[in-house]
């Protein structure tokens, strides 16, 4: 399985993401944001956490206009997989690849801690390694993770089981405790918590391994 990790000025979880993907068996290439194309044969594009372009204007807004973002759009249109974590989730909403937007945390404070997440569906390449109802622990570290969308979109996300993770104790005010959102074809996942920071015993937990291993197993057989 070939994966590309996008790197923007201000990305700071790009190497963690690459380590997590390689640990699960992926062949990973780092791709600078000025590139107009992804390496050929890429199955998964990972958009990492960090503070791309200093979070200027709106988190992820400037990264969403970078040359590589157009290549990401084409990759997803062709049915490719994408995973956006934290700032990567913000980039995916700003590109329009996922609905909604991430606003300032309701309590206006940066939140940095480990949170519990309830797995709501195993029906995606990202969550097939879990069982619905499992509770996993992933770190969060963000100032703008308060997921907002209109009532109509929320009903659609719920009806199509496109909310794969919910917070057990909402840290940021997200509507309906939403921690993650899937695209209509279930091949694009955006999430605020960091699975790549929970793949090694030294991280204090390994609940994230199942996400990367599940993704690899589904993409290897695809």
């Amino acid at each position: 399985m070939k994966a590309a990790v996008l790197v923007f000025p201000g990305s700071n979880c790009d190497r963690d993401m690459a380590v997590a993907l390689r640990g699960a068996g992926a062949d990973v290439t780092m791709v600078w944001h000025k590139e107009g194309e992804l390496p050929s044969g890429v199955d998964l594009v990972a958009v990492p956490g960090g503070f791309s372009f200093g979070d200027y204007l709106r988190c992820g807004a400037i990264a969403a206009q970078a040359p590589i973002a157009a290549a990401l759009q084409n990759h997803v249109k062709r049915g490719g997989y994408a995973l956006g974590v934290c700032n990567g989730f913000q980039v995916l909403t700003e590109t329009g690849l996922l609905p909604g937007i991430l606003m300032r945390n309701a309590a206006l404070k940066f939140v940095c801690k480990t949170v519990g997440l309830r797995v709501e569906t195993s029906q995606s390449a990202f969550t097939n390694g879990y069982k619905a109802g499992d509770v996993v622990n992933f770190p969060v570290a963000h100032h703008d993770g308060n997921y907002v969308t209109d009532a109509e979109t929320l009903d659609m996300l719920k009806g199509e089981a496109r909310i794969p993770f919910r917070y057990t104790d909402n840290p940021n005010g997200s509507i309906d405790d939403i921690a993650a959102v899937l695209s209509e074809n279930r091949r694009v996942l955006g999430m605020m918590p960091h699975p790549e920071r929970a793949v090694d015993a030294g991280h204090g937990g390994t609940d994230g391994q199942a996400l990367f291993r599940g993704l690899l197993s589904e993409l290897m057989t695809a």
Binding site: T93, E94, P99, G100, I101, A106, L108, N146, V148
Partner: protein, 77 residues
């Protein structure tokens, strides 16, 4: 030519920063502040001949996220 773009959260979108400002004003003793909404002002210095539809395109593509924000364009000179 110069233009001023105002970007505001749409009606009904919760504005936690505005709410914090309102709370702080109350704490300072300013009574009767019913609501505070915080937005952005973006000043653009543009080549002559730039049209309002071109500025609107800038707003749609980058300056505002129209999922939650609205914008108004003011041509200044």
């Amino acid at each position: 030519m110069k233009a001023k773009v105002h970007v505001m959260l749409k009606e009904g979108v919760l504005d936690p920063q505005g709410a914090a400002i309102q709370h702080a004003l109350g704490a300072l003793g300013f009574a009767g502040v019913n609501e505070v909404r915080q937005g952005k002002v973006i000043l653009l210095d543009l080549a002559d001949g730039t049209t309002e539809p071109m500025i609107a395109e800038m707003c749609e593509k980058l300056l505002a996220n129209t999922v939650i924000e609205s914008y108004t364009i003011e041509i200044m000179s």
